[in-house]
């Protein structure tokens, strides 16, 4: 902070000094000359060359700065892709980046070079050059062709990413709310989601996701508000929804982003190809965790909507699923919501029959605002 203030102070002192000294010279100048109607006040002044040279020097220094900063900061660019489509979009990102970087350097070089070369000089003869159709055609078609190439590849990748998810995809219901995420799994017994309806949502009653317990498919559904597990190497289909305002599921390492919209479920499917353990080993960071963030402004704690993502080996994943307690088990009061004719079936989940309770390995959610883990009571 002190550095900041010091820098500011210096800048101000310098500016004040320059302004004051300038003011004086202007005042002196004014009294001397009364201007003529036709005086050429815009004639190049003594700084003209300096400005022209300055622009080019600026550019040369910029090139050094850009290259240097790129090298220094590159290590955190596009955090290691861990999904199959992510590797592909990363590839095309860098291809496009190279293309635009070439454009960037060429065009800016011309701009600043011309500023330098053609700075005013009394003896220069200006070329009266109004148009050149060939040139115009060339520099219209060249970008058009480059664009066409990028569009073509982009479309291919986009179509693939947004295609229908494979039938065997592991489905996860993920819901955004102010301010946290809750995920729901279809359960291990029927592997079918129970229906949901926003009118059934009831935080106080232990049903924040509005699961419809008159649908027997819901009985074995389980939910989690602090972490999401997915299997490695298997398609995962996120069925995304929001219950209050817009949110957006962003999994940086997976190159996944899709808005969560109240009243309009959305989806995104992908295949993670590196487990959490793989990444820890690869990065040499035993603390590493995948994270899910929110990228659609949703209010005060938009910046704190974190959900941990754990990518398991498929076998571990199945084990984890088995260890999770269905909603009914977690909160037996929910049995009241089950219609009488289905109570018998539902009771299987509320009785305190011990589920193979294996402690979930690793990660404990440390929600920034401590709000996400409260949800399920």
């Amino acid at each position: 902070m002190t550095i900041l203030i010091a820098i500011l102070a210096i800048v101000f002192i310098v500016l004040t000094f320059m302004v004051v000294s300038k003011t004086q010279s202007i005042l002196k100048g004014l009294s001397k000359s009364e201007v003529e109607e036709s005086e050429y006040l815009g004639a190049p002044d003594r700084y003209n060359s300096a400005n022209g040279v300055g622009l080019f020097v600026f550019w040369l220094i910029s090139i050094v700065g850009i290259v240097w900063s790129f090298i220094v900061y590159k290590k955190d660019f596009l955090p290691e892709a861990s999904s199959i489509h992510g590797k592909e979009t990363d590839y095309w990102f860098w291809v496009s980046m190279i293309v635009i970087m070439i454009g960037f350097f060429i065009v800016n070089t011309f701009l600043f070079l011309f500023s330098y070369l053609y700075r005013h000089n009394k003896n220069r003869k200006v070329t009266f050059y109004t148009h050149n159709n060939n040139l115009e055609i060339i520099w219209t078609t060249v970008p058009a062709i480059v664009m066409a190439g990028l569009v073509f590849t982009g479309l291919r990748v986009w179509t693939k990413i947004t295609s229908e998810a494979p039938a065997n995809a592991e489905q996860i219901d993920i819901m955004g709310k102010q301010f946290g995420w809750t995920v729901r799994y279809a359960g291990v017994d029927d592997n079918q989601f129970g229906k949901y309806n926003y009118k059934l949502m009831d935080d106080a009653g232990g049903n924040p996701m509005g699961v419809d317990f008159s649908d027997p498919n819901s009985f074995d559904d389980f939910a989690n508000a602090s972490e999401m597990h997915i299997p490695k190497g298997k398609p995962v289909l996120l069925k995304i929804r929001a219950r209050d305002v817009l949110h957006s599921v962003f999994i940086p390492h997976m190159r996944v982003k899709m808005d969560a919209v109240p009243g309009m479920p959305t989806k995104f499917w992908f295949v993670a190809d590196k487990s959490t353990a793989d990444m820890r080993a690869e990065l040499g960071k035993p603390e590493f965790n995948y994270e899910i963030a929110c990228t659609e402004i949703c209010g005060r704690s938009h910046f704190g909507m974190k959900l941990l993502l754990v990518v398991d080996e498929p076998a571990d994943y199945e084990k984890w699923k088995k260890s999770q307690k269905p909603l009914l088990t977690e909160n037996p009061d929910l049995l009241n919501k089950v219609p009488d004719n289905l109570k018998a079936k539902a009771q299987k989940y509320t009785s305190t029959e011990p589920v193979a309770a294996e402690a979930t390995p690793e990660v404990v959610a440390s929600s920034v605002l401590g709000n996400s883990s409260k949800v399920l009571k």
Partner: protein, 628 residues
Amino acid sequence: MSTVSQVEVHEHSEHAHEEHHELGFIRKYIFSEDHKVIAKQYLISGIVWAVLGALMSVVFRLQLGFPEMDMAWMKPFLGDWISLDNKGLGKLDPNFYLALVTMHGTIMVFFVLTAGLSGTFSNFLIPLQIGARDMASGFMNMLSYWIFFISSVVMFVSLFIKTGPAGGSWVIYPPLSALKEANPGSGDGMTLWLVSMALFIVSSLLGGINYVTTVINLRTKGMSMDKLPLTIWAFTFTAILGILSFPVLLSAALLLIFDRSFGTSFYLSDIYINGQALPNQGGSPILFQHLFWFLGHPEVYIVILPALGLTSEVIATNSRKPIFGYKAMIFSMAGIMFLAFIVWAHHMFVTGMNPFLGSVFMLLTLIIAVPSAVKGFNYITTLWKGNIIFTPAMLFAIGLVSFFISGGLTGIILGNSALDIQLHDTYFVVAHFHLVMGSAAIFGMLAGVYHWFPKMFGRMMNNSMGYIHFWITFIGVYLVFFPMHYIGIAGFPRRYYQWSGFETFNTYMDLNAFITIAAIITVFAQAVFIFNFVYSIFWGKKASANPWKSNTLEWTTPINPGHGNWPGEIPTVYRWPYDYSKPGAPDDFIPQNVPYSATPESNLPEENELIAAEKEINSIKYDTSLHD
């Protein structure tokens, strides 16, 4: 706005008004119908807003660059928005952070770069450059400014209400903006935002219709469309864009007002908030986004086209060389205008919109890059073999071209829906649009101010201060926004109060601090400009009538043009505006009102043939008097 009137008094009192009866002070300087006065009113309002918007960015940049900082020292002017934590450190309230970002965006896009830029220069230059005594309707023009003024007051007042100004970002997506329970900024602040924007839209429609009508109907003798300066083309296209797209925003806002206050469900469906399920069903938040971006995308061209227009004029004049590819420039602008209407959904690739639509919008978006590129190339070729005079205006114009290129290129990546998945709503986007639209347009505006200041105020701005201003700002802008790309590529989401809660975004603290310092220096360097501006209005060196040796008609007016612009007859136009350094001509410029018959030494063969037509042009009878 007392500054405006002050300025005017000094300006005009020494110049008796020739062709009109004297107007009282209020009609002349406050409720004036003179386009030049209205332009200055817009300019000064725009500058005031820009200062406010920039200071807001300083506050939130401090939060981002130095999240641990003690902000208690800002308590005197931010009041309750700074809360003291248990250690006694002052912390910015996260709700207020969002409100600041929202106000910053709204102010910069609408109040500074739409009203301040188009309002100033369309008003000032259209009549002067096409040779008209005033706008088609001076009264509507005045109304346009004062409605904008009321809109500004409403927006300003919203900064001071208890729950704070609107806080749902400048795009005000519902349901966040529709539900008071969701966010304090969605309460009264949002209501005022909507009222203010509705007024703003009315104002900008009144202005736009006037601009188009004036350009179509009030051109002077001989000023055919192919002799219009590129500035006028740009303003006209801008006005058309505004006329066609702002009404859509108005309807979007109206529906939002209904949803907020009258229980309708245009944008609301299936919502559970504060322990309660709302009755609204069947609405679509995505509908709002379509309507919003139907304006929102053209809006970015509304912001940049006038800046490009001003730049064309400044670059040609100061390169002492015709603008290269005059027709290509017009066609590119026309193409941009047309395409601007059909690319809006590139802001919505990941909203859950049908992926096929995504493909279509990706295709259209990448097409719009082509005319934009052509414009860049044409500017650069204009410099080639010119004889460049680096006035402050010219420096800012060159800066604009550089920003427009650097920022435009990243648009190619963002327009690619597959790549946008990762980059959408990250700092990559923030970096992109601040360069291509924000900084470029601000530079266009500054170039315009430096260049037309002599015509506006009859005095010159100080060059040396202009150079200092340019160099700090130009370097500063790159230092602020270039590293932001890096932060974006690393995935940092925008509209975040802080990132430290995420391990993934726990890097780059140094870069963020660096950006903040660069931003503070850049923002405070604008003081040099403000000083120069105010100082020069009163004590600047007296201007000559045509200080830059420029060709367009405004420079044929007296040093301080009165109401009606030309004391005598309006000049007749014979040639295009870019006859700079014509071979054979004694001078390196030939103004538009010099007939070919007077310049036999420099005429091109086909121009000699036009001499015969000059008599015809002269005999046209227009009624160019000022109507009351």
